[in-house]
């Protein structure tokens, strides 16, 4: 079955520290993968997406993600976290474009 898994429910980092949020996928073929961010009371905003080609994808707000086929992973990273990055982050995947499968989300807290 197709699925996307985010192993970490909640992560706390200090402002200025680096960040890595994990995402693992389970698909028959290489899926198309996405990272979304959701601020409190808001909808989801696309951070970045991977379709093919370069496995290191750059997104908005200084985020990047690396697709690793051997590990079935698509982890989100940021070199230096800002307080405004505190939010819920969702990894998502699809094969067809009709149905997107979302992970359960990782809640990020940033300590001043």
């Amino acid at each position: 079955a197709q699925s996307v898994t985010q192993p970490d429910i909640h992560i706390t980092v200090s402002e200025g520290a680096s960040l890595e949020l994990r995402c693992n996928y389970s698909y028959g073929a290489t899926p198309y993968l996405f990272w979304y961010v959701q601020s409190p009371g808001q909808g989801l905003q696309l951070l970045l997406k991977y379709f093919s080609g370069d496995t290191l994808v750059q997104g908005i707000k200084g985020f990047e993600a690396e697709f690793k086929r051997s590990q079935s992973s698509f982890n989100l990273r940021k070199p230096s976290v800002h307080w405004s990055d505190a939010a819920e982050y969702f990894c998502a995947g699809t094969n067809t474009g009709n149905q997107f499968y979302f992970g359960t989300g990782t809640s990020l807290t940033v300590i001043p």
Partner: protein
């Protein structure tokens, strides 16, 4: 830039009542979706549509109905509200020409069934 607009933003329903969540997009997107988000559960697809007049079930369609009479609108109907339908609902759209298109989300509708 309106994008995807959902109404209402907040609603409290009594068990057995019916209501419709409205969703409108002004981007001329063919694909539209309804998701529900439960705490710690991520987003689950309820229904989706690939164009006017065409709808299909997602992962969790029970208790819901949809229609797509126009490209712009994709209302979600709850016929007999149940406490299990307490959730945050997100409408979304994409141009749908393959998976390379970004999905745009509305700001969500918070529904409580009591």
């Amino acid at each position: 830039n309106a994008g995807v607009t959902q109404t209402p933003k907040f609603r409290i329903l009594k068990i057995g009542q019916s209501m419709t969540l409205q969703c409108t997009q002004d981007m001329n997107h063919n694909y539209m979706y309804w998701y529900r988000q439960d705490p710690g559960m991520g987003l689950k697809l309820i229904y989706y549509s690939v164009g006017a007049g065409i709808t299909d079930k997602g992962e969790v369609p029970n208790g819901y109905n949809v229609s797509r009479s126009t490209t712009e609108d994709f209302p979600l109907r709850l016929e007999l509200a149940a406490p299990s339908q307490t959730s945050v609902y997100f409408c979304a759209s994409s141009s749908g020409q393959g998976v390379r298109n970004t999905i745009y989300f509305g700001e969500g509708s918070w529904l409580t069934v009591v």
